[in-house]
């Protein structure tokens, strides 16, 4: 494990053996969730049949063309929201930073909507689905994170309230933007927009998924390389600088990586709330707060949570599907309330 961490850029492993064990448990849990979700659904496929190769052509198509991309997308979105939440909370030194709450997802959504409504008339569809949509979402997310950083700069730990207030404003502005774009869109654009805003992992295909896999994996790896610096910045920016951290570079790395991960996720699955908030706190409760442990664990727990939420969304009221955002919000919003009371107590 230590060798693995040093290979991916984490030097001087500041992670306890207990945390390594917990991290491994999270990895195993997410693998189990992945397997379970891959074989469960409107067509159940016993794992034994897959191992024996005893499956029909139809089941094979369902598994490879429908189920697998969907589960992979759920895992990627969960991982990117989980790790982005953890990294943003670390960068802002703020336990309430969540891509959804502070408006990053809304920024991404507005960017994606702009592409759907205005992009289709500007490009001839050549580039659209696979790259332009994620690019629009990433730009929107990046714009919001940079604006947040500028506006909350200097508030330090006191910036918790300001950040949430700015988040409310950004969410509202994005809502207005999306509303206007919906209003001016043509029938076919409206159709695309409606499907997209419903926020689901259904309907994803390999050509759409592959760019997202590349973007999200690069972003996650990039965040992992600065986990130690995220620990040091908890001492305050001047202290981190004195310990050799290039604070500006760290900020840009986190901002760009989070924007890319969240933007790519939102562009494919719509806005899914609370995962970025709940997951890092859950992970901290189990094993501690240092980022060498927190970042990879948040990615795996985020993936496990999202795969499970998606599995529930498509199995609870079969053959209909619940929006997955409903399930994550049902778990996340009471947790958010609990967190506010906890912060108030301390």
């Amino acid at each position: 494990m230590n060798n693995f961490l040093s290979v991916i850029g984490i030097k001087n492993i500041h992670i306890s053996s207990r945390q390594i064990i917990i991290l491994n448990v999270f990895v195993i849990i997410s693998c189990i969730c992945f397997l379970m979700a891959s074989v469960t659904g409107s067509i159940n496929v016993p794992i034994g049949d897959i191992i024996r190769g005893d499956i029909s052509e139809l089941t094979k198509i369902v598994l490879i063309e429908i189920r697998l991309p969907r589960v992979i997308l759920a895992a990627l979105v969960g991982a990117s929201l989980g790790i982005s939440g953890a990294a943003l909370q670390g960068l802002f030194r703020n336990p309430l930073a969540d891509p959804g709450l502070i408006g990053v997802s809304a920024g991404a959504a507005l960017g994606a909507t702009l592409v759907i409504v205005l992009g289709s008339s500007m490009s001839n569809g050549l580039f659209l689905g696979s790259f332009l949509l994620p690019l629009g979402a990433i730009s929107g997310a990046m714009f919001v994170i940079m604006m947040l950083y500028l506006l909350t700069k200097g508030f330090g730990y006191q910036g918790v309230t300001y950040m949430l207030l700015i988040g409310i404003a950004v969410n509202a502005i994005a809502g207005v933007g999306i509303g206007i774009l919906t209003f001016i869109s043509t029938d076919s654009e409206l159709r695309g927009l409606t499907f997209w805003t419903m926020g689901s992992f259904g309907g994803v295909t390999w050509p759409l998924l592959i760019p997202a896999i590349v973007i999200i994996l690069i972003s996650i790896s990039s965040m992992m390389t600065v986990s130690r610096n995220l620990d040091l910045i908890q001492l305050g920016e001047p202290e981190a600088y004195r310990l050799g951290v290039d604070v500006k570079k760290l900020k840009y790395k986190i901002i760009i990586s989070c924007a890319a991960a969240v933007g790519a996720s939102v562009s494919l699955s719509g806005m899914i709330g609370f995962v970025g908030l709940v997951v890092p706190h859950l992970v901290r409760l189990f094993g501690g707060v240092n980022h060498n442990y927190l970042l990879p664990s948040s990615a795996f727990v985020g993936a496990a949570l999202m795969i499970t939420a998606d599995m529930l969304s498509r199995t609870i009221i079969q053959p209909a599907e619940l929006p997955v955002g409903l399930i994550t919000s049902a778990i996340g919003s009471p947790f958010f309330l609990w967190l506010i009371f906890r912060i108030k107590r301390s």
């Binding site: 001087n12 500041h14 909370q89 330090g156 620990d231």
Partner: protein
């Protein structure tokens, strides 16, 4: 070997904070900066530590201009403890101390991480706090932990002769008498082992007892610098602090009313 500044001017928010300051922190020497509030003591410490760029003049680390030294290299050379910010997440005390460890890649230092941490914990007498949550400690205890972190940053194997400098801004704030003296004794020990130390202090008697050199700063200028017994004179101190100050020699004792 020294850290020095030559005729530096520093402006913050368009206000002149330091003017024409030249100071040198030598190895094996403790330099204390004293002076009234707003004199520019912390700014001087921060500029020598490399946090603030002077608008005029130069800062040298062992004859090398600080602008040519990257921040990683600076972190190997000097460590700083100043006013501290609250920590948002519940780090353990041990994790906070370990944050002082500056990564030196695959060098001989890397293998001695555990020894270094244990040595510093033992030296600072914080073993009983090490497994606690940092945010549950008192202000004084937190300061002791940050001091231990600062020392870990400067830790060297016994056979190393790499230069090291320690910058401490009011290190004894919030500390009780026992730890005030313990901390300054550790600082003295580190200076004797070869480090150059710069202290910002308010307590004139501590400055008299623990410093090799004292600099008096007022309104951004150095009024006097030299041996404690030469600089800490009753007329000068009375003038600087605008209160009656009495100084007795041997041992140097400063009384104020």
């Amino acid at each position: 070997m020294s850290i020095r500044c030559e005729s530096i001017d520093i402006n913050l928010n368009k206000r002149e904070i330091l003017k024409n300051i030249s100071v040198e922190v030598n190895e094996k020497e403790i330099l204390s900066i004293i002076g009234p509030n707003g004199a520019g003591k912390s700014t001087l410490l921060k500029s020598l530590a490399g946090d603030i760029n002077p608008i005029k003049g130069n800062i040298f680390y062992d004859e090398k201009n600080i602008n040519n030294i990257n921040i990683q290299e600076r972190a190997f050379t000097r460590s700083v403890m100043s006013q501290l910010q609250p920590i948002a997440f519940d780090f353990s005390v041990k994790e906070i101390v370990e944050m002082g460890w500056v990564d030196r890649g695959e060098s001989e230092y890397a293998d001695q991480f555990d020894d270094a941490v244990n040595e510093v914990i033992h030296k600072c007498g914080v073993k009983d706090l090490i497994n606690r949550n940092f945010n549950t400690l008192s202000g004084g205890e937190q300061r002791r932990i940050h001091f231990a972190r600062t020392l870990l940053q400067l830790w060297r194997p016994s056979n190393s002769d790499d230069p090291k400098y320690l910058f401490l801004d009011e290190p004894t704030a919030n500390l009780d008498l026992t730890y005030e003296i313990k901390l300054l004794n550790i600082v003295k020990e580190i200076a004797q082992e070869g480090a150059g130390v710069m202290l910002v202090l308010h307590d004139l008697n501590l400055a008299a007892k623990f410093s090799d050199k004292v600099a008096i700063l007022k309104s951004g200028s150095i009024i006097d610098i030299g041996l404690p017994k030469d600089v800490l004179r009753s007329t000068l101190l009375s003038d600087i602090y605008e209160i009656d100050v009495e100084v007795k020699d041997d041992p140097l004792l400063i009384t104020y009313y």
